[in-house]
């Protein structure tokens, strides 16, 4: 039994591939807890960032700078009365939030947080992610229909139309990135032998970027960038976020498809929505932003193709310098909270809050110091960069919401079908033509 547990520690495979169910379970639990943690942080961060962008303070009462606000919210939601409309379709009304959460979390089975840090690696990885996340819309449709009310039904209709339209543009953008995995050349314009050994596996896609020494967003510049742009727009529409939040447009439809939901069921919808945001962001990160790779992948040390980067101290100087990034980020956050604790007004009522902020800063500094230790520092690298990129995407989501007004529905459809779809087809064609460049040139020579 002990051998079974420890044998995986020296494996270079994901637990799913190694067939180790125990470690697979551990990974599932850790990823579940981690994503829930991101949702909690996002709950606080979104309100805080939105408030600062609108020159407000945001939550300030519960804990220092409102840091305990998510916990207070969770207690409120759990103790609220759970209302089910009497005319609702009860089994489907019950199933809808469960379905949304299940779908949102099951996508994370294939998300690679590192070369070995995924529950499993599938041959159809990206196809699985797109397919399963497209099932999420069924939960919204179920919720809207089962509520037996007008606003939810309108929200569900809008949601299904929107998601089906944007999935096509999204798929085309994804295909152009997958075509790039088959072009083995090095550098932004590198074209290899063109043997066509592309891959759909999430880990394989990141490894292709590592071997080509370029993130696919910079591949065939600006082709990769345009594909990423299409995906980034479709991604916001898929997750029903502003400026594409028509299914829950509060000025038109009250709260859209979840108008009739309250308490725990409503919070499940919220959990599903934010977990879905993390999921689509991690698709974008894996396909275009190099997954777990740190910035400047062309300067990687010699050990880049080996899953155990930390067992090879002869890595380059750049790798060594970048390995301090996680600790530095943590220490910067600690410094920030110390700075704000010192700026707190000296008032007896704020004494506990000030102490709490100091304590929070101490915890962050402690984590930062632990991350400085060489074994931890090297092992945490890939996970850190993946989560850091997710955090950037989450901040962008908040930024979009604060900046752009909501689209009108016909404008939304026009953007999806008349702009993004032709653009996606064009990007796919251009990628193929550049990728097959040598072959096409040889063929033309033969004709002429």
């Amino acid at each position: 039994m002990l051998d079974y547990v420890t044998s995986y520690l020296h494996s270079s495979l994901t637990p799913g591939q190694a067939g180790n169910w125990l470690w697979a379970l551990v990974y599932i639990l850790v990823i579940f807890a981690g994503v829930s943690g991101i949702v909690i942080v996002m709950n606080w961060g979104e309100r805080k960032a939105l408030a600062h962008m609108q020159v407000r303070l945001g939550p300030m009462r519960v804990g220092p700078h409102g840091l305990m606000q998510p916990i207070a919210d969770a207690i409120k939601l759990l103790t609220k009365e759970d209302i089910m409309p009497s005319e609702a379709d009860k089994p489907i009304f019950w199933l809808a939030p469960v379905w949304v959460v299940m779908i949102a979390f099951s996508v994370f089975i294939v998300v690679p947080f590192g070369p070995t840090h995924a529950v499993t690696d599938m041959n159809i990885g990206i196809l699985f992610m797109l397919g399963v996340s497209s099932l999420g819309v069924l939960g919204i449709v179920m919720a809207g229909w089962a509520s037996n009310s007008h606003f939810p039904l309108m929200g569900a209709l809008r949601s299904s139309a929107q998601m089906v339209s944007y999935e096509i543009a999204m798929g085309l953008a994804v295909v152009s990135a997958i075509v790039m995995t088959g072009l083995g050349g090095i550098g932004p314009y590198g074209i290899g032998s063109g043997a066509g050994s592309g891959t759909l596996s999430m880990i394989g896609i990141v490894q292709a970027q590592a071997q080509q020494h370029v993130w696919f967003i910079f591949k065939f510049f600006p082709v990769g960038l345009v594909a990423f742009f299409i995906f980034a727009v479709a991604m916001i529409a898929e997750t029903n976020r502003a400026p594409f939040d028509l299914p829950e447009a509060e000025s038109e439809l009250v709260a859209g498809f979840h108008t009739e939901y309250s308490g725990l069921r409503w919070s499940l919808f919220m959990l599903g929505e934010y977990a879905g945001m993390v999921a689509v962001s991690s698709i974008a990160i894996t396909l275009w932003l190099g997954g777990w790779l740190r910035p400047f992948p062309s300067t990687h040390g010699p050990a880049i193709n080996i899953p155990f980067l930390w067992e090879h101290p002869e890595q380059g100087v750049v790798d060594f310098a970048f390995s301090f990034a996680p600790a530095l980020v943590m220490l910067a956050l600690a410094f920030f909270s110390f700075f704000n604790a010192m700026r707190m007004p000296k008032h007896p009522l704020l004494k506990i809050q000030t102490i709490g902020l100091y304590a929070f800063g101490l915890v962050l500094a402690g984590v930062g110091l632990i991350l400085l230790a060489p074994p931890v520092r090297d092992r945490i690298q890939d996970i850190f960069w993946f989560v850091f990129k997710i955090a950037c995407f989450m901040y962008l989501y908040i930024w979009y919401r604060a900046t752009w007004p909501r689209y009108r529905f016909d404008q939304l459809m026009k953007v999806g079908w008349k702009v993004l779809l032709p653009l996606g087809l064009g990007v796919l064609l251009v990628t193929g033509i550049i990728g097959l460049g040598p072959e096409i040139a040889a063929w033309l020579k033969g004709v002429v």
Partner: protein
């Protein structure tokens, strides 16, 4: 990797598929029928995975469960449920239907009993990690022309649907 408890999962997935399929035709509410059909399709995707065909399973989920069923529900949600629940569920042809399905069932039983020479007992197993690549090679190298003709047919159908639905473009 070797599959875990294949017998158990086969019976689990087949039960879900069969029960879902029965619910599709017995439920009076069309939305309930459509949701049961989704469960059937998902169970079938699981069966494809067990047959070492991950690409077919992925396409099954992304196209049928994710795309087509959403459009089904989209249309069904606009149907007047009260009227559809009052209508007679099975039409007068169910006698014929039972005879046809029994005949098909006996055919399956006969093939199962005597057809062991037609179907190999140990089918050639495709290496799972390269399944998608092999499907791609087959479609775009060996069978490119049939593939393109099929997609042209679909394109004609799409154009036809648009022309019939929208008289003035």
């Amino acid at each position: 990797m070797t599959p875990v408890a294949p017998t158990f999962f086969f019976y689990l997935l087949s039960t879900v598929a069969v029960v879902g399929a029965i619910l599709v035709i017995t439920r009076k509410n069309p939305v309930h029928s459509a949701l049961s059909l989704i469960f059937t399709l998902l169970a079938l995707a699981g069966l494809y995975l067990m047959l070492y065909a991950p690409f077919v399973a992925g396409v099954q989920i992304i196209l049928y469960a994710g795309g087509i069923m959403v459009l089904f529900l989209f249309v069904i949600m606009l149907v007047n449920i009260e009227r559809s629940q009052r209508e007679v569920q099975f039409n007068q042809q169910w006698h014929v239907g039972i005879i046809a399905s029994l005949a098909l069932g006996f055919l399956f039983l006969y093939v199962y009993k005597h057809g062991s020479s037609i179907f190999p007992v140990n089918p050639v197993s495709m290496p799972e990690p390269m399944n998608t690549q092999q499907v791609g090679m087959a479609l775009f190298r060996n069978y490119l022309l049939p593939f393109e003709i099929a997609s042209l047919l679909l394109l004609v159908a799409i154009v036809g649907a648009v022309v019939m639905a929208k008289k003035r473009i």
